[in-house]
Symmetry: C2
Subunit: 401 residues, 2 copies
């Protein structure tokens, strides 16, 4: 994260305090005792950590008439005051920049889109800056400061350095995006891979809360996957991780843009589906929606394309489950609009290819409105904000077993 101006920083200076705050943030209102249990700390530690956070306005106390115990002193609930700080999340796609203004609880307050004139870093930066400016004005209207900007880009991203190593889509190499955007906007900037950003949002605010191992699979223009192992998002040694889209499911399958044959992405991405539906039906469908329309109309060839796509996705998920044993897999993405067309095939292929107890993995689906991608970016900004101080565990020194 790159932080240019000396903004007021988050007052959780101990690892326990930040752990407690994260627990409250993710698990909604909790009594102090609940927090203690969840975080594995004593009640005394929670009381102590909570006080300065309440004083600083990040936590507030609530009385909950419902959850009162049958007997004894009623508990006070502690929750995060979402309005205490705002964040901006920006997702860069091929032709648009999506931006959202969220509160500290990562609830979207405002969403804006701007078309992207070109893909060069300067163009993207200029458009992003304009979008940020608009959102900052909205934030001013609310009278709350914006505490961070998160940017999500597809490709290989080094979050720690804030550098986009390589984005095939944007044709960028080694662009120090965090630094550039920090200079332009004056905000602390976090840059991360788009799917990982989405995964962070699920981990903190979605279906991944409380899980130490899960996967997010996105189906749409591409097939992506974010992985959480041992409670942390996997980033990969060289910025590559979660490339489920390039798991081979059929070495005799269609050629993929990556050079191989039969990658999941070459069979189940929007583009691949459109291409296959055209080939199977002869109808020159314009896009994935039209292709799904044909399949919904019961056109045989089109349905079969979705069968095959579901099969590929299910195999890809089974591969992840066999290798990592996640507790849950969350399927999401724009492609979910056609979910009814391949849901059964995903499940069937997963069940067939999952090995032993890996099949017990819980598979969920979640719709993914396009703004969610930008919300993921905001989630990374929130994460950076909360960890802004010396809260990182084990900084310095080698990774220990």
């Amino acid at each position: 994260m790159s932080s240019p101006s000396a903004v007021e920083s988050f007052p959780a200076h101990t690892s326990a305090a930040s752990q407690i705050f994260t627990t409250v943030l993710s698990r909604g209102p909790l009594t102090r005792l609940e927090v203690a249990r969840r975080a594995g700390l004593s009640a005394a530690a929670v009381t102590r950590a909570v006080r300065p956070l309440i004083e600083a306005g990040y936590l507030v106390e609530d009385v909950d008439e419902d959850a009162r115990p049958a007997l004894g002193r009623p508990a006070n609930l502690v929750r995060v005051d979402g309005g205490r700080a705002l964040f901006i999340g920006v997702k860069v796609t091929g032709d648009t920049i999506i931006g959202v203004l969220t509160d500290l609880c990562c609830r979207i307050l405002v969403a804006r889109h701007l078309p992207l004139p070109a893909r060069a870093p300067e163009a993207v930066l200029g458009t992003a800056a304009e979008l940020v400016r608009e959102l900052l004005i909205e934030a001013d209207g609310l009278g709350v400061r914006v505490a961070g900007l998160g940017m999500a880009v597809s490709g290989e991203v080094d979050r720690a350095e804030g550098v986009v190593r390589y984005s095939p889509f944007l044709e960028w190499r080694d662009v120090p995006l965090a630094e550039l955007a920090a200079m332009t906007t004056g905000l602390p900037v976090t840059v991360d891979n788009d799917v990982r950003a989405l995964t962070v949002a699920e981990q903190w605010f979605g279906a991944g809360v409380g899980l130490s191992g899960f996967a997010v699979v996105t189906v749409g223009a591409g097939i992506g996957c974010g992985l959480v192992v041992h409670g942390r998002v996997v980033a990969g040694a060289h910025g590559v991780a979660g490339e489920i889209g390039h798991v081979t499911v059929d070495p005799a399958g269609p050629r993929c843009h990556c050079g191989n044959r039969g990658c999941v992405e070459a069979i189940a991405s929007d583009d691949a589906i459109v291409r296959q539906v055209r080939a199977a039906t002869g109808v020159q469908v314009a896009d994935a929606v039209a292709a799904a329309g044909l399949a919904h109309d019961g056109v045989g060839g089109a349905r079969q394309v979705y069968t095959r796509a579901g099969d590929a996705i299910g195999r890809g998920i089974a591969t992840v489950a066999n290798l990592l044993g996640p507790e849950r897999v969350i399927i999401s993405g724009e492609g979910l609009a056609a979910y009814d067309l391949f849901a059964d095939h995903i499940r069937a292929a997963f069940a067939a290819a999952a090995f032993g107890s890996a099949a017990r993995c819980d598979i969920q689906t979640r719709p993914l409105p396009f703004d969610e991608w930008a919300r993921g970016a905001a989630a990374t900004a929130i994460q950076s904000f909360i960890r802004s101080d010396a809260n990182q565990r084990g900084r310095g020194g080698e990774q220990q077993p």
Copy 2:
């Protein structure tokens, strides 16, 4: 781990002390300052943590005439006294039990094998107990106590509970092996999956030292994979992880015992290779060694089988690399005896299927004498011993991001 008798336990009561000990154990003799740098602590902390460990005899001080700095006070090296405690590692295979006696540095002092009369838990336990007895006598001869027993079994194992959930090979279900073995032998027992045990050995004493993400791929009777992510061995939510052997590389390939077609294991395991070589050449080779002999003799059909096997393994490794971005992959296993036959194909298939920077992953091979499997079991026992007290990080409470 199940510990029946109140044996003297390891005197590292703080997380820093156990971290320091682990550093010295893995990185050989180090000066205190080196240790401090590696562990991310101050020199003072190292001095303080090291003293009781020296007093207890686990660490010893050496003077190193070589590594003396050009100027200034010469450094004193600290290293682990391997002879301070012994461990027994036991690996259960289908027809044999292999046992090793190791020192605290996991060096094999004695190795013994016993044939297995049957696969029922009682039979295995009886034979294992006899093997342990023999090794305990050896240990007595050295005058050093045995501080722990590690057992490695293939299949789904719950290490924390010491229970073998399901071992298809042994046809076991929910066998509380740690408890049973502890009662029989009177030693603290750690039970883990065999490939994970091997991975622990690599992580602490082998090619995985200092890496926060790597994979161990074993090639032989089966194709296995141990994964380390974020510095910890991946165990999977339900005891399943690293099943690279059941990654599909060719949906039209030969049927696998798991029910699917074209798993890596159905193409590249010893059995699969023997079957394919027989089919291709018509020669009724007896085993993998004979099959490799044919291929070495240049018999076309046989070579091709190895080409295909290498391709399958390479694709499997690429899948791991694409999903997790490990820093290194260590290929090992009995099948390595024929490594020259498929090395090039593994590398070629990996290079072709690895996506983007995932291809920068370092691929190494290590021979794996059969005793190494048992050494892996000993490594888990050493790990449990060092962590025997309150050293587990984050015990209690939920996994935090």
